[in-house]
Symmetry: D2
Subunit: 336 residues, 4 copies
């Protein structure tokens, strides 16, 4: 934990309980994903989501997103998403790579949420012929790239469009924990109950080291998921160390506790940013209006963060920075 | 460590010094590969190999092999390799995936070593037109899939063919440490000095958790390597934990010590297998003639290992199984 | 020729001189592209473009565009283009397929021309890291998708951005002849002299049967072009019949005559559409405001064409429809 | 027709009836494959094959093979075939390209026929895990690369292995006509009745200009076939000219007449090659033992053909070279 680092939750520390679980996993077991920890994931996630889940661990969110999407679309098909979605702008084309050529089809949106009506119109505008790429999946991110949590009914509106057009619905949950912590709902409410077919459930930003879960709801991810994991070079031989992280994060709701801490830190900062906020603060990210001079002043006080275009900045609070930890930055912001 | 597990070094434990290094890395640092540990790898490997190296960490050997080969070949070209090479039979087509379609072009060989003359003849037999796939790289494995170490002059003969045909030479070094430990040579002698252009330097089987190094000799791996690492989903956000493993393995020659221990264990087993050995035992793998009854007898005594077709078995000794640790199995083999 | 078909020049007849040339090619010759006609293309195009050209025939424009672009970009890179460019919306993802995964990066524009300043800003907005897809090529279409001809200086402005950013410049010339016919310039003026690196020179819409030329200016297209042509299944064994079409189109400037005829037809229609035109009519396409009732009236008179969204229509004049041939439609338009 | 060219049927002339049909097709019609000729193919082939067929025209055999195989296998799967199959050695990796990465898995065979028992053993030898590429299709060539015709019962043995292993069976019929002409059977007997799922039906070598048919038996080729045709750049805008060739070849069994002529020519040559034949001559290709001196003697007399390694040559007879046309070569062979 540091009281000065707000550029990303990506580089946060690993929670001590996760480190301990990894140490405990340092015994001989079956290679790849044949070990007891890896084999326990289906059951663990099925309990958490209150439905039968098929789960595959994977070291990164980029791989999680790409493998799920590659499972849902064929090489000549497309993936509808928000125009600043991580899969569109921050993964070096990974979903296209894993799918063998699928096209990302970006849509505008408010607060990084695509709109169900605009989505419907976009789909309707595609000629149903072989000249135009036909979408086969929709991907949304929860919490969004601008730190907002999708409500169950908002997801339901998107999934209704998906169903009526024969598309699969994927949720990029790099910060899924932060969204659930904010909403106070069951994980099921913002996933399968709202029509989500598969989730990239992120743990790395939230206290793990390199551990994400590919979660298929209500049955099998079918052919291709495990093959792509291997073919992509993600089937670690000592896979038990990834599964151990995930089990540690699920135990006693550590994933929720960590997310709540980060959200609380963000809320504390938000209170110090009234008038500056570009979006409501629901998860662990703040987008604030900040002049160049103000940004320089904060940086000279030791705080680091990313500029967000001109006159704005992004502040990200990590799981190890709760309301108390962010107090110095909050004070500095109020003092501007 | 167990005295009974000989099915693979893939599932071995992680060396305590590696675990400690990972624990020490659990501080806030820059994300991805911008941290100090990741940035130190070029220097560390350049010292070890006595030449300027460009190094990229990567979590798996499959990814290391695939990204190097994808850097060397274009999608319409080919990769010459031994017909049972890991890249040909055990990676679910990963090199073809990462290269965007390159063809594996398998060759026979003794002890999993391809022969320079046969290689030359194979290349000569390919029509130089657009109808036939033209090779652009050769991949050899050291130690080989049958546990033999390539000698510098053997590698030199292959690299001479490579140079004269305009091909790049890749070495899959999943068990590179075991080969170097056996040969007692400088790492340089069996790599760039013998004409190798890039090495997949494996640490995972040899005491790390998930850490391999992509090593380009004598300059840059150029465009594409880092892009493919990201695009393939291997740019872990907390990458310092991978770099830490590698630095721990390099410190005080832990990589060599571990390999020597495994080799010594294999040598002790080999002494108990006279008359059964299908290949000389140079690294940490033994391929032994074993009847079904004998195999059953060993298994009933608690030893596990893979059958290798009919009437044979593979025994792999891990870094945590030295000569003393394998004594029970040696005794059981002698007692057959 | 028909006086009623204005939905596309795609389905026009083949010019009699092309048919005759194909008949003359019906003799035994070397297979693939080893025949005398195929081998003559470099020379013929070098004369036409007043510079050394390397030329490959190809049956379709989709393949021409895709193979050139795949030659210019690596799988993890991007292609900047107008947001309604044919390569973006009408080729089922072919450039991504042929390049092994490159991303199309669409830009807005007036009359289907991208703007040099906007292009520069877009490139500047891409972070130079491995997370974001880096563009390696720009593709423009001449005549544009809205029937406008790029002027040499406009192309020069784009190519200056390309050069300063290290990008290659491709021109989709499906209707290149119509642009040159309108401008009355040398083909060189709107290609290599203005900084274009390669041209898809279309003949099919302009009187050929299935014949386009991939033209690289000032030297070799290098490795990959011929391999991709074969690998894509476009190396027809009786390739002389494609080369024959191209030679017939070049002979006595048939390509220009045909384009002039189509342009003249379009101009005649344009004169009947004053007040309705959405864009100036420079080539052989018209985009006209037309109410649903007016469109229905024209169709009931036998004319066919595509609607272009609500309240608009696209009219395309083919090489076999000159000013005289379009007179009935012109009259009908005036009579609305 | 020439009496001296025996290097390939690839470069033969186009039959006059095909040329006439193309001339007749030079009228305005719908673009792409919406024209009446293209739309008539399902019916025409369904009649020929005595079962419901779904048919797509395509300009080359490489594209036909690749698109069918890409329809049958996923990128991470494999295609079993003869080790010298055209798809393995002469298509620059096209099936891997179109399928997004599928692996060709070559098998030995007599006369270019793979053996059902060897096939079964090969499949059994593949571990059913994600590390090894799992085959999803088998491809055989009829007539084979060595000019032999697969008998219905031989195909049946292969298709039985296919069915029991869940694999699809593809037939490369570049010289399908020659095989059927030799066997004197119904086209159905050596295709769907024997268990073939899809056929690349070649017309180009047999008198067409650039026309092959992708034929799916007993129902739909389903999603992907038409998309890949477009995405690969094979959906010619004036597609009616390809469909016209195919209809002309089917009319009055021109395809069979042409094949019979070529086969008769080959049989006449075979009679002059007793003692030299490496394989029985069943179709239109001969593989003959020929010393370098003998080959030189024939060439000095004006005959051209390919050497087939040392001491052997390949002679291919085209549709326009019947028994009478090959008489000079037959005489020259006898005179050696």
């Amino acid at each position: 934990m540091t009281a000065t680092r707000f550029f990303s939750d990506n580089a946060a520390t690993v929670h001590p309980l996760v480190m301990e679980a990894m140490a405990r996993a340092n015994i001989v077991d079956t290679a790849y994903d044949g070990d007891a920890l890896s084999q326990s994931l289906d059951t663990a996630f099925s309990a958490l989501f209150e439905t039968a889940c098929e789960v595959v661990w994977i070291p990164t969110g980029t791989a999680a997103n790409s493998i799920i999407l590659a499972h849902f679309v064929r090489p000549w098909q497309g993936i509808l998403c928000y125009e600043e979605a991580h899969i569109e702008v921050d993964e070096c084309g990974a979903p296209t790579f894993y799918s063998g050529g699928a096209k990302l089809m970006p849509l505008p949106g408010q607060g990084a949420k695509i709109d169900a009506e605009a989505l419907k119109a976009r789909i309707a505008g595609i000629r149903k012929d072989v000249h135009q790429v036909q979408p086969a999946a929709i991907s949304i991110t929860n919490a969004t790239e601008y730190g907002l949590a999708w409500r169950p009914e908002e997801i339901g509106a998107i999934s209704e469009v998906a169903r009526s057009s024969g598309l699969k619905l994927h949720m990029d949950g790099a910060r899924f924990a932060n969204a659930v912590a904010f909403l106070g709902c069951s994980p099921a409410d913002v996933t399968w109950r709202a029509g989500v077919d598969a989730l990239s459930f992120g743990f790395t930003k939230n206290g793990a080291m390199m551990a994400e879960a590919i979660v298929f709801f209500g049955g099998s991810g079918g052919a291709g998921v495990r093959e792509l994991k291997k073919r992509g070079g993600h089937l670690l031989s000592k896979g038990r160390f990834v599964a151990a992280q995930i089990r540690a994060m699920l135990a006693d709701d550590l994933w929720l506790d960590n997310a709540r801490a980060a959200n609380a830190g963000a809320a504390a900062l938000a209170a110090a940013c009234r008038g500056r906020l570009m979006y409501p603060v629901e998860a662990n990210e703040l987008f604030v209006r900040l002049s160049a001079a103000e940004a320089a002043q904060l940086r000279s006080a030791g705080f680091d963060f990313y500029d967000w275009g001109d006159g704005a900045a992004r502040l990200v609070v990590s799981w190890d920075q709760d309301a108390q930890a962010v107090a110095p930055l909050a004070a500095a912001l109020l003092a501007l």
